[in-house]
Structures are given as structure tokens and as C-alpha cells.
């Protein structure tokens, strides 16, 4: 690092123009990824660092001057649809993905493109829920992208040319990749989506240089593997449909990027819903490792521990949330993993062992009542036709949270007072066909009440729930403040060293709050829903904040 800094300094004292054109473009080594906090001008991984804090150490933009933020440039994507990418920025060059599976290298100061890599996924691909790509990973001078047709692709950073392509899984069987890969040492780690199509999920690592598979961990254990016993045998003559081969299409998708602890050499991944989503009677048992976090040895993929948030889920409570790593949690000396789950609970786990440290609701929850001493929820299924809290989209979902080591607060995009009524129905597995087994409907007699669908007109009321940014004390789960929105939010959250919090929502506002108090400091209407996680970077002496809204990437900074 010192060498790089000296080079940067030597280059930049020559003239002001160097800020525009001469940026050190070094190789992004594994060491740089591990020490990402030491170069806050860059954004090297999906969540900013291996701890997934989505916290920027930049502090040029402050609570005092944030009102002076000005739009610097806009990049408009050519393909319509929900856009969820988080850019990487490396030494003044921004790398973003755009639908369906393009990668674009942009000048981070002006937004002008250096190159575009275009990939056309298999037209027969099967992808659920707003086919998306959330970003790339980088190692050396290579970018890595998972595709909607379940390939992993390596691309040169300098030219945008493809280096290799590896088929990860069969797209016609419902497999896809939508999240940004995670690079650990010399491997690229990805998982597969397809939880609504009866896949058998897995996480796999690939040699960054060749694309050859190094290890694979199935999130649905097979016969003889630990955890397979949680796919219990069907009871004899129960009178209801039961699938004796349920594990073979048990879901357990991966669709958000995991985290990594270099000291423990463990990588943490959240696992998605069980298949079928709602028809629990046909898959008796806890259905591991669905709705769990798994801690894997980064070199071998060996499972070290797991914790299941929602055993035998019948609510589609994917646990794909980004795992957030916090050291010396609650001043106990324990290095923890904290988690706001789609099921409405906030958790803290010992990330070395998986030991349950804390669990408590952060929104209204009625699918369970309390935890036993080992952290297993005591479930309280609601009578047919009655609402279950939180609803199908959860107390939160995939939206990136943020953790500020300065405030020790954990910031979460939440859906409050939100419920669904569930209607399971038996479903037989057919490859590539929808495999949800019934479905939820919103609670509240309000047309267009919150769900996956998005629209600029909000016709629901307080009876159907609303969105909020909530700040939780990471040590206790106590809510320290709340910023309410009328509509719900799918936006991620960014916090900064200067105690700013940036986030958006379906209403299209991009807003800055005081991370200590939740006070609104600045907002601008970008005109379309914000469904990605904001990020920040610096080029020269200038800090930028970037967010996607609708079909456009907006970049803000203070005027010079």
C-alpha cells in the first residue's frame, strides 16, 4: 500500500490534470481486498469490504454540507427493468452491470464509457422475480460476473474482453446467478438462484485464473451427508400429498453476496427459501440448510457451522440477507455476525461457532413467539385466513443493510406492519416449472398493496404497512431511531465516516439522514424506485455518492 500511495502522490503533485487522467491502475490483489478499508477511495467488493458493512470511510460530504450535493453525471441503461447493481470503483474506473448481463467500464468522474462487454444469456433461461444482476467482483485485472443463464464469466478490466466462461448449472432446469460473486484469495465464489423452480441449491468456488471448479457445497444435503436427516421420510398414509424425494428439488437458492472473515478463513452465505415455498406438508422436517446461514471453509467449502433462522419455512422467508461481521460484539470480545432477517428478527451469532447470542423482532412478528435456549424459534402458525407478520416480502429482504463501527448501529430497510395471508397447495415437481405450492395474498383490503410489483401510484394505506429505515443497536437490537416512509422500500443503505446515511425507496427519493439521529438532511427526487445499494468513492480530492434509480445511475458530489 505504501508503494502505491507514494506512486499516487508522485504522480499527482505534477499538476491538477493528473486528477483527471493519471490514476494509478494497479492490480487488485487478494491483499487489497482484505485491506479494503485502507483505500476508502475505492469500492472493491459488492458491500464495500469483506465484513459487508457498506460503510465508507470517506468524510468530505458531511451533515453540514450534504445540502450542497449536486448531480455530477448520469448513466442511463439501455434495457428496461428493475436495476439492482452496485458499482465497483477501482482507481478511478467504475465497473457496473446492466441488464441483462452487460458489464460497462466508466470514467468515475464523468461517466463516459471506456468499454462495454455484452453477453446475451440463453433465451430459454428461467429466472424468477425480475431477472437481475447485482454486480461484479474483481481480482488482479479480471472482473467476474454470474449470468442469468447460470454461467460464470471472467472479463479483462482493461479491454472488456471475455477470458473464460464456465457453466455453473443448467439454466433450463431453473438455475441462474443474479448476485455479485465474492473473490477470496484465488477463488471466485458464487451460488445459484432458482428457489421458485425446485433447484437443489449450491455454493461453488472456481479458480480465478481458469474457471475450473474448486469446490461445491450443496445447500440441500444429499443422502449420507450431515443434515440430510432433516428431510424426513413421509408419514405412511397421511392422506396429504408428500414427496419422498423432496430434497432433490428442495431449493436453498443463493442470490445475495456472502462475506468473509480472513482470520477464521470462513465465508458466510445466506441461504434462500425451501422448495416448494408454501406447501410444507409435502416436505416434512426442518429442511436444512434452507433459510440458514452457512459458514464454509473458504479453501475447501467444508461446512463449519450453520444456523437455521426459519426451520421448515412455509412463508418464503429467504435468508439471503448480506451477512454483516462485527468485531467485539457488545464489548464481549466475541466476533459476531449480525443479521436482520426476512422473518422479522434481528440476530447476533458467534461467527466462529455459530452460537446463538441474540434474537428479537425488529418488526411485528407472529409466526413465532420466542426462542428456546439454543436459539430455535417456537413457531406459532396462524389459523387459515389469518394474517402472518411479517408478510411474504418480509420485515426486510435482500436490501443491503449498513453497519457503522462509529455509532455501533445497524441500519436496516424495513417493512413495518406488513402481513400476508398464506394459502398453500400441493405441487408436483416438473423441471423448469414454477414450484411454489400456493401463494400469499396481501393482508388489507387495498388494491395494489405492497408486494413485488412496483408502481408510481400508491393506493394503499397505513392498513397495509409502510417502509422505514430503522437503526438498531447492534449489541441489543434496541431500536434507536426510525425514519418512516409512506411507501415501502427496496433500497440498500450506505453510511459514512461523517455520520451520513444514504438510502432510497420506491418513491424515488434519494435521501441523506444523520446516521446518529435519523434526521433528514437532504433529499432529491430521482423519479423512479431505488432498488440498489448506494456506494461512495473518491477520485482525486473529491468524494462521490452513487445510486441507481429506475434505468439510471446517478452520481453526486459537492461542487468544486
Amino acid at each position: 500500500m505504501m508503494t502505491r500511495k507514494r506512486r499516487l502522490f508522485a504522480g499527482c503533485v505534477a499538476s491538477l490534470i493528473c486528477l483527471l487522467s493519471f490514476r494509478v491502475q494497479g492490480q487488485v490483489t487478494s491483499q487489497r481486498l482484505t485491506a479494503a478499508n485502507s483505500e476508502p477511495q475505492n469500492w472493491l467488493t459488492y458491500s464495500g469490504n469483506y465484513q459487508s458493512h457498506r460503510f465508507s470511510l470517506l468524510d468530505q460530504i458531511t451533515p453540514a454540507n450534504v445540502k450542497n450535493l449536486k448531480l455530477q453525471w448520469v448513466y442511463q441503461a439501455p434495457v428496461a427493468g428493475n436495476w439492482q447493481t452496485t458499482p465497483l470503483v477501482v482507481d478511478g474506473v467504475m465497473y457496473i452491470t446492466q441488464r441483462p448481463n452487460d458489464v460497462v467500464a466508466l470514467d468515475a468522474i464523468t461517466g463516459r464509457a471506456f468499454w462495454i462487454y455484452r453477453y446475451t444469456p440463453n433465451p430459454d433461461r428461467i429466472v424468477c422475480c425480475g431477472a437481475n444482476n447485482r454486480g461484479v467482483a474483481i481480482l488482479g485485472d479480471t472482473l467476474f460476473m454470474g449470468t442469468l443463464d447460470a454461467n460464470l464469466i471472467a472479463i479483462e478490466t482493461k479491454s472488456g474482453r471475455q477470458i473464460w466462461k464456465t457453466e455453473v448449472a443448467s439454466t433450463t432446469a431453473g438455475y441462474s446467478i443474479t448476485h455479485a460473486p465474492l473473490v477470496v484469495k484465488d477463488k471466485v465464489i458464487v451460488g445459484v438462484g432458482g428457489g421458485e423452480y425446485g433447484i437443489r441449491g449450491f455454493i461453488a468456488a472456481y479458480d480465478a485464473n481458469t474457471g475450473k471448479e474448486a469446490w461445491r457445497f450443496y445447500t440441500i444435503p444429499g443422502p449420507g451427508e450431515k443434515g440430510h436427516e432433516t428431510w424426513e421420510a413421509c408419514p405412511p398414509a397421511s392422506g396429504t400429498f408428500c414427496d419422498p424425494d423432496a430434497w432433490k428439488h428442495g431449493g436453498g437458492s443463493i442470490w445475495m453476496t456472502g462475506s468473509y472473515d480472513p482470520q477464521l478463513n470462513l465465508t458466510y452465505w445466506g441461504v434462500g427459501n425451501v422448495g416448494p415455498d408454501y406447501a410444507g406438508a409435502q416436505r416434512p422436517g426442518d429442511n436444512l440448510y434452507t433459510d440458514s446461514v452457512v459458514a464454509l471453509d473458504a479453501d475447501t467449502g467444508t461446512l463449519r457451522w450453520h444456523y437455521q433462522f426459519t426451520p421448515h419455512d412455509v412463508y418464503d422467508y429467504d435468508s439471503v440477507q448480506v451477512p454483516v461481521l462485527v468485531d467485539n460484539w457488545a464489548r464481549t470480545g466475541i466476533n459476531a455476525l449480525i443479521w436482520a432477517n426476512r422473518n422479522g428478527n434481528y440476530y447476533a451469532l458467534d461467527r466462529a461457532t455459530g452460537r446463538f447470542l441474540l434474537g428479537r423482532p425488529f418488526v411485528k412478528v407472529n409466526w413465532m413467539s420466542e426462542f428456546d435456549e439454543r436459539g430455535r424459534p417456537i413457531q406459532t402458525p396462524q389459523p387459515p385466513g389469518q394474517p402472518t407478520y411479517p408478510g411474504n416480502q418480509g420485515g426486510t429482504n435482500w436490501y443491503s443493510p449498513s453497519f457503522s463501527p462509529l455509532t455501533n448501529l445497524f441500519y436496516v430497510s424495513a417493512w413495518e406492519d406488513y402481513a400476508s395471508i398464506y394459502g398453500p397447495s400441493p405441487v408436483e415437481y416438473n423441471q423448469g416449472r414454477n414450484f411454489t405450492g400456493g401463494g400469499p395474498r396481501p393482508f388489507g383490503s387495498v388494491p395494489g398493496a405492497p408486494g413485488l410489483a412496483r408502481a408510481p401510484i400508491n393506493t394503499w394505506t397505513e392498513a397495509a404497512g409502510h417502509g422505514a429505515v430503522i437503526a438498531l443497536d447492534a449489541a441489543t437490537g434496541d431500536q434507536k431511531w426510525k425514519f418512516n416512509m409512506t411507501d415501502v422500500t427496496d433500497s440498500g443503505i450506505l453510511t459514512t465516516r461523517s455520520h451520513l446515511l444514504f438510502t432510497g425507496g420506491r418513491e424515488g427519493y434519494f435521501q441523506a439522514l444523520d446516521a446518529r439521529t435519523g434526521t433528514l438532511l437532504w433529499k432529491t427526487n430521482l423519479g423512479a424506485a431505488i432498488n440498489s445499494g448506494p456506494m461512495s468513492y473518491r477520485v482525486g480530492n473529491r468524494q462521490y455518492v452513487a445510486t441507481v434509480s429506475g434505468l439510471s445511475l446517478f452520481v453526486f458530489a459537492l461542487d468544486e
Binding site: 504522480g11 505534477a14 499538476s15 491538477l16 490534470i17 493528473c18 483527471l20 487522467s21 493519471f22 490514476r23 491502475q25 478511478g92 474506473v93 467500464a105 470514467d107 468522474i109 464523468t110 463516459r112 464509457a113 471506456f114 468499454w115 479483462e156 482493461k158 479491454s159 474482453r161 471475455q162 477470458i163 473464460w164
Partner: protein, 261 residues
């Protein structure tokens, strides 16, 4: 002070010699078809057509390819369409040739009667690769797959993009075949810093380039005092520096580059 290496000095890809060196050298055939295209087509013909049409082009009754004239294909475009579509009724399958191969096969068919395959040839691919990565020093500027520099145009699929004739002329007279997008640019900033490179993108107010040290730059035009688009190729001619056989081999290698990665 920032030190910039002159692109022109670095962009070497030396190949040389009059070679390819048929007696005709790099000159065009009597017709509009370059000899190297015809030679490339001859190779293709031997590989893909000769089984049915025969070495002399007259193995199918009523069809004499050596005539160079065809009932249903008056123009070259007609001929390309016919080859791509095939003639299922007559038992000829469709051929999905890329632009280079199609240019070659048409050039050969139009000149089959007069062409002496012994005089012009594209050479050995493996030896050509050795020239490319060795004596020719082409990788100092160009990249194929994961080998070579980003400074010059990437040649990974150049065999699909350029005709044999164009490639041969590139080796002998680089400027004559330089595409406008590959014209080198020379930027001088207001403080006197010089940046030489290749344009990746440009708009009214800014330019994005790959410089001669493989660095990406995005520069505002208002920060420049000089912006020169160079119309001569920085690539030196290989005329006189490679033997005719080496040139043939190098051409054979370039023609074989069709998108590997």
C-alpha cells in the same frame, strides 16, 4: 515530472519483407481480388469443396466452377448468398462462412481458372504463432487471447474481421489498412503532459483512451492544449524484416484467429 513514452516508438509489430512473396508480391491480381484472398480461398476449397466439385471444379455434371461464371450468381453478393443458403435440391449443404472465408472462397472461385496455388499461400499456423510471439514482437502491442499487450488493437478474432489481402497489406503497408478507430492520438495537456494512446471512446467534451502503458485515461478536452489524430500507423512495416516464408506463416496464423479466448 510525468514521463510519457512515445507511442510511436513503442508500437512495434515489425513484420517485413516483400514476401508473402509470391512473384506478384502484395499486388492485386489482374482482377479485383488480392492474391492472398485467392490463396486463402484455395485452401478452403481444398478443405471443404473439393470432395464434391473436384480439384478442377468440374466433378459435378453441368457445373464448371473454373469458368468463374454462374447462372444464379451474377454478383459476388449473389454468390455469397448461394453458398450460405446451399442448394438442398442439388445436394449442396449451406456453408456458414465468416466474412474472411467468404471473401476468400469467392476470390478463388472467380479466379480458379488462372490461379496457381503454388505461387501464393498462407503458411503454417504454428510457425506463424512463433513469429507473432517471437521475432515479429507483435505481442508488444497486440493481444491474442490472454497473451500480449492492450496497447494496440486486440487480434483475438482478426481472422474473422479482415480479409487475407487486407491482413497481408497490414503487414507490409500498415498505414494503408489502419482503421480510423485505430488511429493513434496524441494529447498534450495544458501543463505540457503528453499522452499517446488509442481511442476507446469520445464525445464532444471528453476522450477515453488506452495509453502506451496500458492505462485507461478519461480526459476533458478543455484541459488539453493539443489533440492530434495521427493518420500514419505507428506499426512499422515488416517488409525486409521477415522472410517471405515467415510472412506467409504469420499471415496463416492471423487468418486462424477467429475468436479464441
Amino acid at each position: 515530472m510525468l514521463k510519457i513514452i512515445c507511442l510511436v516508438a513503442v508500437l512495434v509489430t515489425a513484420v517485413g519483407s516483400t514476401a508473402m512473396a509470391s512473384p506478384q508480391g502484395a499486388q492485386l491480381h489482374d482482377s479485383q481480388y488480392p492474391d492472398v484472398d485467392i490463396a486463402h480461398g484455395a485452401n478452403l476449397y481444398s478443405a471443404r469443396c473439393i470432395t464434391c466439385h473436384g480439384a478442377q471444379g468440374d466433378a459435378i455434371g453441368g457445373v464448371n466452377l473454373r469458368s468463374g461464371k454462374f447462372r444464379n450468381a451474377i454478383t459476388d453478393r449473389d454468390l455469397a448468398g448461394f453458398i450460405r443458403a446451399g442448394s438442398p435440391a442439388a445436394g449442396m449443404p449451406p456453408f456458414a462462412l465468416d466474412d474472411t472465408d467468404m471473401a476468400g472462397i469467392i476470390a478463388y472461385l472467380r479466379n480458379m481458372n488462372s490461379f496457381d496455388a503454388a505461387t501464393v499461400k498462407s503458411g503454417n499456423v504454428a510457425r506463424g504463432r512463433a513469429v507473432f510471439e517471437g521475432k515479429g514482437a507483435c505481442t508488444k502491442c497486440h493481444r491474442v487471447g490472454r497473451v500480449g499487450s492492450h496497447v494496440g488493437p486486440n487480434l483475438t478474432d482478426i481472422g474473422s474481421l479482415r480479409s487475407a489481402g487486407s491482413l497481408q497489406r497490414s503487414l507490409l503497408e500498415p498505414t494503408s489498412q489502419m482503421m480510423p478507430v485505430n488511429r493513434p492520438v496524441r494529447l498534450v495537456t495544458k501543463d505540457g503532459t503528453v499522452i499517446n494512446g488509442r481511442r476507446l471512446n469520445e464525445d464532444t467534451y471528453s476522450i477515453q483512451i488506452m495509453d502506451d502503458r496500458e492505462r485507461l485515461h478519461s480526459v476533458l478536452k478543455t484541459d488539453l492544449r493539443e489533440y492530434t489524430i495521427v493518420t500514419t500507423s505507428p506499426m512499422p512495416s515488416y517488409k525486409g524484416t521477415l522472410s517471405s516464408e515467415e510472412l506467409s506463416d504469420l499471415l496463416g496464423y492471423l487468418l486462424s484467429l477467429k475468436g479464441q479466448s
